[in-house]
């Protein structure tokens, strides 16, 4: 079934199994997944030098996003390895907090990241990269199935599946104060034409906007007036492929806006394209520009700014927290009011970008669109925002396009399995009217979605899909066994007199009575808030050696939160029961007389696959779900 690689033929009649439009974070994962599953792929992107560009923040990971990167890795995706090899600072966020909210985050060397991404694609078997811009689709005569794409230069490429990942480029327009021009990123032209192809297919298009701050020259900043923020000494790799990575550890710097900054912004608000009404696209409420913050939080006397290095080979510094689309003179004035930036030299101004996106509720959870077979859409184009979000969707679209070619059921991760599952379910079930960013709070089963156990949840799935290599899988099995062994040791090992004195010597503090632990198992002891795995390992070296620290950390969280995990598992069961109640694809909602018209229209539009999904559609009455359940109910005998 696999078409042979025909990359050598540039005649314009090349055939591929799959075409990926766009070489951003979604496109990279999609193309690699398809190629690794042994189908031929053509990645068409506007500019080869911009593959894998980090358009905005030079960082990968963060709360919930870091979990997604590790999920991508466990499923056989690339992002984890890309950032591991190019990071210049690493931190686990929220170490002081609970297990559900800890997450890895790394500063990336932007250029290194991009270069490695491109190199990885270039070296991938079955994958061809081609610089051009897709402007239209080729469909079958009935218009029900995708056949390929047409490019700006009139080339026609045929393929059985097409994955669209156009990011912020579809009909993009950037704004800097009064200035505006068609572009997808500053200095890169917008992609025009494909938006018409998408509407012809039946997609509802909308406008979204997002923004980025100015980049300033490192040497123009006075770091003595800022507070350095260092990363963690030990780096936990995002990828489960290895135990450690050796990377430079650069600091970031913290400074703050002040009343004067806010005054400059307030006085010039009429010159902001956001407030002058020129930008119509919705921005994300949670990721506001500095002008938004000043308007919406007038009581705040300052806002925090992280000054982040963009790489080892560049002096550009990213001003995290002051994204803006103010005119350049205003940008310069407000930046100069900030401590340590009095003389900052702006190398690139901040800007806002507005672009077309499609309503994601027009996609199935496989990311295939409902109108045309074989057309998949992923990344910023379906209303999300963020590299990790894009990568997660790209991976799933790639996997599902390949599975369709393999005539297999699509892979749909559930909300209880992965943040990726939560994200896609949210998008296709609820649609979105603002850029969708992943948040921990969106995941109701977040305690099961810890970043450190992403492999436990997903490697078997990735293996079944065919993206997890033998070596990776063996490492995983060793860890799974190892983690169980440690738990077994903890269950067997009882606290002796000598342990008590050894623990006392550690001076743990708290009001825990060590003597009362005599005779208990280490397993029980680990549940005590004051006792950590490292303490036990210090008392009994056989626990730690020769095991990677990550295994110990995982055991610690598993044991400490055992009761919670068990309760979460019960919730997951309950949730899965609803997910398992499938709704036949041809279910006739017109025959349900009792449901509201609004619900009926929504059911017909979203076409939920299960009662669970149906119940998450917004604005659907609970009683309508109950009616649907009864009418589908297996307990209800059909009238005979």
């Amino acid at each position: 079934m696999t078409a042979a690689r025909r990359g050598g033929d540039n005649s314009g009649w090349m055939d591929f199994d799959v075409i990926v439009v766009g070489g951003g974070h979604a496109g990279i994962e999609a193309a690699l997944a398809v190629a690794r599953l042994d189908f031929s792929v053509l990645m068409i992107t506007q500019n080869l030098d911009c593959i894998g560009k980090l358009s905005c923040n030079p960082a990968i990971g963060g709360l919930a996003k870091g979990n997604m990167v590790r999920e991508i890795d466990a499923l056989g995706g690339e992002m984890g390895r890309l950032i591991d090899a190019t990071m210049i600072q690493f931190r686990v966020l929220n170490r002081s907090r609970g297990p559900a909210v800890q997450a890895p985050r790394a500063q990336a060397d932007k250029l290194a990241y991009q270069t490695l991404a491109k190199k990885t694609l270039e070296q991938q078997k079955n994958l061809c990269i081609f610089q051009d811009t897709a402007v239209d689709f080729i469909l079958d005569s009935a218009g029900h199935e995708i056949r390929g794409i047409v490019t700006e230069r009139g080339r026609r490429f045929h393929a059985a599946k097409v994955i669209v990942t156009t990011g912020t480029f579809l009909n993009g327009r950037i704004y800097i104060g009064e200035f505006s021009m068609p572009a997808g990123r500053l200095g890169e032209p917008a992609a025009r034409g494909l938006e018409q192809g998408l509407s012809r297919v039946g997609f509802k298009l909308g406008r979204l906007k997002t923004g980025t701050p100015a980049r300033v020259h490192r040497d123009s900043l006075d770091f003595s007036r800022m507070e350095p923020q260092f990363g963690d000494q030990d780096i936990v790799p995002f990828s489960f492929s290895y135990d450690s990575v050796d990377r430079p550890r650069l600091p970031c710097y913290i400074t703050f806006t002040n009343q004067e900054t806010h005054r400059v912004l307030a006085e010039n608000m009429h010159r902001s394209p956001l407030y002058s009404g020129r930008i119509v696209g919705h921005g994300a409420r949670y990721c506001p520009s500095i002008e938004d913050k000043v308007v919406k939080f007038p009581d705040r006397s300052r806002h925090q700014i992280f000054v982040e290095p963009e790489g080892l080979q560049t002096a550009e510094m990213y001003l995290n927290g002051v994204s803006t689309s103010m005119p350049e003179d205003v940008q310069q004035r407000f930046i100069h009011t900030i401590a340590g930036m009095e003389h900052a030299w702006i190398m690139r101004p901040g800007y806002a970008v507005e672009y077309d996106y499609i309503d994601p509720s027009q996609l199935y959870p496989s990311l295939e669109c409902k109108m045309v077979r074989g057309l998949y859409v992923a990344g910023q184009t379906i209303g999300s925002s963020g590299y990790e979000e894009a990568a997660g969707q790209g991976l799933m679209a790639g996997i599902n396009a390949a599975r369709a070619l393999q005539r297999k059921e699509p892979l749909i991760l559930s909300r209880a399995e992965a943040y990726i599952g939560v994200m896609i379910d949210d998008l296709v079930t609820l649609g979105t009217e603002e850029p969708y960013r992943m948040f921990t709070s969106r995941a109701e089963h977040r305690l099961s979605l810890r970043h450190d156990s992403s492999d436990m949840r997903l490697v078997e799935i990735g293996r079944e899909v065919g993206l997890v290599t033998d070596r990776y899988y063996q490492r995983f099995v060793a860890k799974r066994v190892g983690v169980e062994e440690i738990k077994e040791l903890l269950r067997k090992r009882r606290v002796a007199e000598t342990d008590v004195s050894a623990l006392r010597a550690l001076q743990l503090g708290g009001n825990f009575e060590l003597d009362s632990s005599l005779g208990k198992t280490f397993y029980q002891l680990l549940k005590v808030p004051e006792i950590a795995m490292i303490h036990l390992a210090a008392v009994d070296r056989s626990l730690a050696e020769p095991r990677p620290i990550e295994w110990l950390r995982q055991v610690e969280l598993d044991v400490k939160y055992e009761g919670y995990v068990a309760r979460q598992d019960r919730q997951v069961d309950r949730f899965q029961r609803m997910e398992r109640m499938k709704i036949p694809a041809d279910f006739d909602y017109n025959a349900l007389s009792g449901i509201s018209n609004e619900s009926r229209e929504k059911f017909k539009r979203i076409r939920p696959l299960s009662i669970g999904q149906a119940s998450r559609i917004s604005g659907v009455r609970n009683s309508d779900i109950a009616i649907l359940m009864v009418s589908l109910g297996r307990w209800a005998k059909q009238a005979g």
Partner: protein
């Protein structure tokens, strides 16, 4: 859609038995046309407007015999209870007459409705949600004005409001946690869930839980047995209580000769009252089947009115039984026949109410005592919403225990992102009560055994 109707069904809507008027409900596709075929004046119903009332006769179409003179209420889809074309026939309430009409309806194409099937249809037609459907079941079986009122309250959503208020408190707690979930340490302060706030919510839940006993008593009623030796005056007391009752709902003779029972209302509570066969002298004590059954009734009773003839005094065989009843908290002692001269010779056992069923002396006090024992002041309905189904009780208990976990977690200094899980669990349980979360169990419990017509 609106024109979607199920096959026609019919059933008697009023309780079985003779009464002045009975109502037979007919609903479903073609219900109006079908009834029209046996209605005189002919053709009147088929052309009648929705929500109209018609006077006429039901006629056997073959023999042309008039079965009954009736009033007919005609409702058209979707404006009826079931959302379907509906005809409600008000006929005379003789059992023989009802049976003949029902037989005729079945003969012309109606199917006998299964219990609750109208409610199922109303539910499927979107006419009532689950909590309300549950309440309807209770109204149908409500036996006193109070229990009817309670179910009605539920129908109007008073319980829902109460629970929503509790939920709102929990949602506020969670909202604070969510902020912490989504912003890292350096950007957001540490959220603390105040244990006092949790305790407050839990107390509210416990208050509602406590109302279960009240709800249960009004809904299910209590069993009260009258016991004592032969001739102590048990039947006199039975009759006296029946007379006191002003809202006898139904009365059935005991299926066995040995005891009789009747349903009365005391203090608004439906009371199943049993008059048992008296205990005899020990010399005559033959273990008859009748006496064994009397004991069974006593054992199952929530309250036992034990009557002793003051003229005879306490019999040697009695103290043991009295002791037992006292210990189980079910004894109301009745020291009867104090009008007899011989009564003065014996001392009443402790706590017995002295009465004369003949003269009526002490009777009002006795009845007050019985009412108080059936429904202690603490359980008397104060007009607030109560819960009265086992399902609701279990869900509230689940919420209560989830909040217990929350408090435990806070005491153990478990981080809020984990503790939040138990808050969410409590919310889930509360949502299941108001029907916001629909679980399979609820539906199968409500509608198990139904045929869902296509």
């Amino acid at each position: 859609m609106a024109d979607h109707q199920n096959p026609p069904i019919t059933a008697l809507a009023t309780p079985w038995g003779s009464s002045a008027i009975a109502v037979i409900r007919c609903s479903g596709l073609g219900a109006i046309e079908l009834v029209d075929r046996i209605f005189l004046p002919a053709g009147k119903l088929a052309s009648a407007a929705a929500n109209s009332v018609h006077h006429g006769f039901l006629v056997d179409p073959d023999s042309r015999v008039r079965l009954d003179e009736v009033m007919v209420v005609l409702l058209r889809a979707p404006g009826s209870y079931t959302g379907e074309d509906t005809v409600e026939v008000m006929c005379h309430g003789s059992t023989a007459g009802i049976q003949r009409i029902l037989a005729l309806l079945l003969a012309i194409g109606f199917r006998q409705a299964e219990p609750g099937e109208f409610t199922l249809r109303a539910f499927m037609a979107g006419k009532l949600d689950l909590t309300r459907a549950e309440a309807v079941n209770e109204i149908v079986s409500a036996r006193t004005a109070e229990s009817h009122e309670m179910a009605l309250q539920r129908l109007s959503g008073a319980l829902e409001q109460r629970i929503n208020a509790i939920k709102a408190r929990l949602v506020t707690l969670l909202a604070a946690v969510d902020i912490q979930l989504d912003y890292p340490e350096e950007d957001s302060g540490e959220v603390v869930i105040a244990p006092e706030a949790v305790v407050e919510v839990r107390d509210k839940i416990r208050e509602l839980l406590a109302s279960y006993r009240t709800g249960r008593i009004y809904q299910q009623g209590v069993r009260v047995a009258i016991a004592g030796r032969t001739n102590a005056g048990k039947s006199s007391l039975f009759n006296e209580l029946l007379r006191q009752d002003r809202s006898i709902v139904s009365e059935t003779a005991g299926t066995t000769r040995d005891y009789i029972e009747s349903t009365i209302a005391l203090a608004g509570v439906p009371v199943r009252l049993y008059d048992t066969a008296g205990f005899r002298d020990s010399s005559e004590r033959v273990e008859t089947e009748g006496m064994r059954r009397s004991r069974e009734i006593l054992d199952a009773a929530d309250l036992v009115l034990y009557v002793i003839d003051a003229g005879e005094g306490v019999h040697d065989s009695e103290p043991a039984m009295l002791q037992q009843l006292r210990e189980s908290g079910r004894l109301v002692g009745v020291w009867n026949k104090i009008d007899l001269p011989a009564a003065g010779a014996h001392a009443a056992p402790h706590g017995f109410a002295a009465v004369s069923l003949n003269t009526g002396q002490g009777l009002p006090q006795l009845i007050e005592l019985i009412c108080e024992r059936i429904l202690p002041a603490s359980l008397t309905w104060n007009g607030e919403p109560v819960i009265d189904s086992l399902r609701q009780k279990q869900l509230l208990e689940a919420a209560d225990s989830a909040l217990g976990h929350v408090l435990e977690g806070l005491a153990m200094q478990i981080p809020v992102d984990a503790v939040a899980l138990d808050v969410e669990e409590a919310l889930h349980s509360l949502g299941a009560i108001t029907g916001e979360v629909t679980t399979e169990d609820v539906l199968s419990a409500m509608f198990a055994g139904f045929c869902v017509g296509k």
